[in-house]
């Protein structure tokens, strides 16, 4: 919380993007989260990513559930559409919104509690449907908003602020999503924007459900010694396995390709993801290889980070179901509601 708002004055040398906007034009209201919350850094990374992608703010729809993490859409893209869903129901709302208007860019923000506890079922179905969206889980291992109870992502052995130990197995959203056939999976850290921003950019351009799990420490309830989701613990155990650059369609590819299984993946809009560094024998387009790797790291007490998996030929929900191309709001009324005579005809088919 802060009393003054972030003043509108800006650095006169701030770069502008293709729309003539600066990164500051993508900001939203002033954050009311605790000072130092990882979620605020993720907000800053989102702002940087949408700025760099030249996204028109009014073509973005922000969706979220309930939690500190779910409050964050208020703090970026003040000129975008927004929907704050009931706890855990954001994936369902997103699927519905996408069906009604496939032209908007969907950006969902959720928490580990919102997605992995109460909303787990909805998340699974959105993955399965391959709804075209960026789905961010700001993962801090606790229910921050309700004062720090363990969430479903809390590791075995991690301790709460009051010293209690968690004994239940965690749900790793990356594992879960890979099992459910997710078409894009990545993990980042709020304290490392250098690697988070390109992941977010690739995810926003992905033609399907892009799950990005971001370790985002809760300074108020889960940043103490004994926590496995603190800033320090994350820094000590994060294994930045897969380094990837996101390269927009027209840009020249300059990143040097290191030997050892490095490759590029072209996305549906012509942009490419260039993998700069992957572990030996790792194939970011092979689901089994990725699943094995992530599990292996987890057994070693490490957290695998980076743009872990991408399915090049991903077919998103609307394409797959052959729904109408145009957004419902743009259809002429006669087409949207063809009248009772046409209804009669349809009903006759079922007699």
């Amino acid at each position: 919380m802060t009393y003054i708002l972030k003043p509108k004055v800006r650095h006169p040398g701030l770069p502008t993007n293709a729309l003539g906007l600066t990164a500051r034009d993508y900001e939203g209201a002033m954050s009311t989260l605790c000072a130092g919350c990882g979620h605020d850094s993720v907000t800053a990374a989102v702002i940087q990513a949408v700025f760099e992608l030249d996204l028109p703010p009014h073509r973005v729809a922000k969706l979220s559930g309930i939690g500190c993490s779910s409050k964050t859409p208020t703090y970026f893209l003040g000129q975008a559409h927004g929907f704050n869903a009931v706890h855990g129901r954001m994936p369902a709302i997103a699927a519905g919104a996408s069906a009604a208007n496939r032209d908007l860019i969907y950006l969902g923000v959720s928490g580990d509690g919102d997605s992995l506890s109460i909303g787990l079922g909805h998340l699974c179905h959105a993955i399965r449907r391959n709804v075209r969206m960026l789905y961010l889980i700001e993962n801090n291992g606790v229910y921050g908003l309700t004062k720090g109870q363990f969430s479903a992502s809390a590791d075995v052995g991690t301790r709460s602020k009051r010293g209690e130990e968690n004994r239940q197995e965690p749900i790793d959203p990356i594992h879960l999503a890979l099992t459910l056939g997710v078409s894009f999976a990545a993990r980042g850290f709020s304290g490392d924007k250098v690697h988070l921003v390109p992941i977010l950019k690739a995810a926003l351009q992905h033609d399907g459900f892009a799950l990005v799990d971001v370790i985002s420490p809760c300074v108020a309830f889960n940043d103490h010694v004994g926590s496995t989701k603190s800033y320090l613990h994350t820094r000590e155990h994060a294994q930045l396995a897969v380094l990837a650059d996101f390269i927009p369609p027209a840009a020249e590819i300059t990143a040097s390709v290191e030997p050892g299984g490095v490759r590029s993946v072209t996305m549906h809009d012509g942009s490419t993801i260039q993998f700069r560094q992957v572990p030996d024998g790792y194939d970011p387009t092979n689901r089994e290889s990725v699943e094995n790797y992530v599990r292996e790291r987890q057994r070693a007490g490490e957290v695998a980070m980076g743009l872990l998996y991408v399915e090049p030929g991903s077919v998103e929900m609307n394409e797959n179901l052959g729904t109408v191309d145009r957004p419902l709001c743009e259809l002429p009324y006669e087409e949207l509601c063809p009248g009772s005579a046409r209804l009669e005809e349809i009903q006759l088919q079922y007699r």
Partner: protein
């Protein structure tokens, strides 16, 4: 990069652009806050401590602080620092202020000092030495003390009342002023046995324009002499058509004075184009507001005098171009401009016909004494020079700073201490945190544009010489303008060990000052910040290695608006906002110390403020 040493007072001093830019290092943001709180007397005293003449300077200062002001780099226009100083001078409680002037000891220390010339430099020397028990005598050529401040700066810019008050404050400390006492031989003055001599005789000689016809008429005047004759009341009119040659500040005072003495058609003739004009932009603006015509690229050729009567002046119309990296002119045409009088204002210089060559004072090839830049001493021990006399014409605030430095030297000389060993600056840094999100200063950014000064109407002001043109700021303008100040003295104060590298400060900073990045060479690091730090006049702060990753916290000081948001968003209070106070050494005083005030520390009398004078202003008690 090496971790920044913020214990060096000059580091934070440099962040306070205005204070750094002020030759006397006036604590600008502190007095602006005092003015905004209605604590005018304290604001006045704080000013007086460093610049000695707040009322005079609040109207006439060359204000090097303003082009330096950080606000310019953000919204194009500096805070009206100078005019806020005038507010403090205008609205101070005089009785209260006087109670806080230094006490002059009755028992003298036995050292007798002579100042030559009673201008701003000498008066500052007297101001600094009298409270220490020195006896100070001033020999002044003219009938009054004040130098160019009274005999050249016109009354419509600087009312005599203001001048008399502030000069009087110093004379009343016990100066032995000998007016109408020109020094004609330094050797004989040396024989009088002074313990030290300060030469503050200014640069009193106006430059000549030796063109054909110059001496064939009495209608051609030298600017500074002409202005002096007005001040003495020897001149009270001028012919209708006047040409002023030159386009510096003296020329501006000449053309504006001519307008008031009856001239109807006044032209300022410039050899070059506007970007090369020496006059301060605001002085030029004021002259043009008074319908003075400014003509560019006219180079004077000769005066036209027919039967002993000046009828005009001949000029080459020139065009400037670059050749071999130098600016050259070519003549396009030659024209005659009719006129009845000409005022030549093309510069001034010091002149020392009265310094003998064989008294141990080395003179340079122009006949000026060689003066040490730090000690202000000549090559003869115990003889010092300052103000315009030292290195040619500058301005009042430089003369004041020279006076302070020379006073330090004179004191050290008289106490047999080495002159080169200058007393060190000190600093205080005090946290301004008042609560969770509360600071002792207004930390929000006010987007207001610079307040415009209200001027007296043209007709009224041109009717006489005495009407002061600027009305000063009213309460509303004062508050609005004070709120534009960015409080650059409230510094971001970082503690390496506390940082958990959460990025909160980096993300919230509205002007992208902060970056957490790996170490590197400064040139390289500067280009890879959140926003590139291209202004190398401003420092790049670097912390030591941070606890978690050994990266550095970097801060480009260039555009910080001192909003304190970094400190508010920091979960561990690794950032704090600390008010920096530069402790400036003055003659015989340790940095941060003050002379004993004359009267008791009275409660402030300004009705708006219930505080005690001695509480905050540093310079007050």
């Amino acid at each position: 990069m090496r971790p920044t040493d913020v214990s060096d007072p000059q580091y934070y001093h440099r962040v306070v652009d205005c204070q750094w830019g002020c030759p006397a290092h006036t604590n600008v943001p502190e007095y602006i806050r005092l003015v905004a709180q209605g604590r005018f007397t304290e604001a006045y005293l704080l000013n007086r401590k460093s610049n000695v003449f707040p009322g005079i300077l609040g109207r006439t200062c060359d204000r090097p602080c303003e082009p330096a002001c950080r606000r310019t780099r953000l919204d194009g226009e500096p805070v009206a620092i100078c005019r806020l100083k005038r507010v403090a001078a205008d609205l101070r409680d005089d009785e209260l202020m006087r109670a806080h002037l230094p006490q002059i000891p009755e028992a003298k220390n036995g050292k007798r000092i002579l100042c030559i010339g009673a201008g701003s430099a000498s008066l500052t020397v007297a101001n600094d030495l009298l409270p220490l028990g020195y006896e100070v005598t001033i020999y002044e050529k003219l009938a009054r003390a004040g130098g160019l401040m009274w005999n050249n700066i016109p009354q419509f810019r600087l009312p005599p009342r203001v001048l008399d008050e502030e000069i009087g404050m110093i004379l009343d400390m016990g100066v032995d002023l000998r007016s109408n006492h020109p020094v004609e031989s330094l050797a004989s003055v040396l024989d009088e046995g002074w313990d030290a001599i300060f030469i503050g005789s200014g640069a009193p000689r106006g430059k000549e324009l030796d063109l054909p016809g110059r001496h064939d008429t009495d209608r051609i005047h030298i600017g500074i002499d002409w202005l002096q004759s007005i001040a003495f009341g020897h001149i009270d009119s001028i012919e209708p058509r006047v040409l002023v040659i030159g386009v510096g500040n003296t020329a501006m005072d000449c053309c504006r004075s001519a307008k008031r003495l009856g001239a109807t058609d006044v032209k300022v003739m410039a050899r070059r184009s506007r970007p090369h004009f020496k006059a301060s932009p605001w002085e030029l603006e004021d002259a043009e507001e008074e319908l003075v015509e400014v003509i560019e690229n006219y180079s004077p050729r000769r005066f036209i005098v027919e039967d002993g009567v000046l009828t005009g002046m001949e000029f080459d119309i020139v065009e400037w171009y670059e050749q071999d990296g130098r600016s050259r002119s070519r003549t396009l045409d030659t024209v005659t401009i009719p006129c009845d009088a000409v005022i030549v204002a093309i510069g001034q210089e010091a002149a020392f016909p009265w310094i003998e060559k064989d008294i141990g004072i080395e003179l340079d090839r122009w006949g000026n004494p060689v003066v040490d830049r730090t000690t202000f001493q000549t090559t003869r021990d115990g003889v010092f020079v300052g103000g315009d006399a030292a290195w040619g014409p500058e301005n009042i605030i430089w003369a004041v700073e020279h006076g302070h430095q020379a006073a330090i030297s004179i004191d050290r000389y008289c106490q047999s201490q080495p002159l080169d060993d200058r007393p060190a600056y000190g600093m205080n840094l005090v946290s301004q945190k008042m609560g969770m999100h509360e600071w002792s200063y207004g930390n929000d950014y006010d987007a207001a544009q610079r307040a415009r000064m209200t001027h007296v109407g043209l007709e009224e002001r041109l009717a006489t010489l005495e009407v002061e043109v600027e009305l000063g700021f009213d309460a509303k303008q004062t508050l609005r303008e004070a709120a534009r100040c960015l409080n650059c003295d409230v510094q971001t104060d970082f503690t390496d060990e506390l940082c958990i590298e959460c990025d909160a400060c980096v993300d919230v900073c509205p002007v992208n000052c902060l970056t957490i990045a790996p170490d590197g060479e400064e040139d390289e690091v500067r280009l890879n910040l959140t926003a590139p730090a291209l202004n190398s006049d401003q420092a790049l702060f670097a912390s030591g290695p941070l606890p978690q990753t050994a990266r550095l916290m970097l801060k480009d000081e260039d555009l910080c608006i001192h909003c304190g948001l970094c400190a508010e968003r920091c979960p561990t209070a690794a950032w704090d906002m600390g008010k920096f106070d530069l402790l400036i050494p003055y003659a015989g005083l340790l940095p941060g110390h003050d002379h004993t005030p004359r009267g008791p520390a009275l409660p402030i009398l300004n009705p708006t403020v219930p505080t005690l004078v001695s509480s905050a202003a540093g310079g007050a008690a």
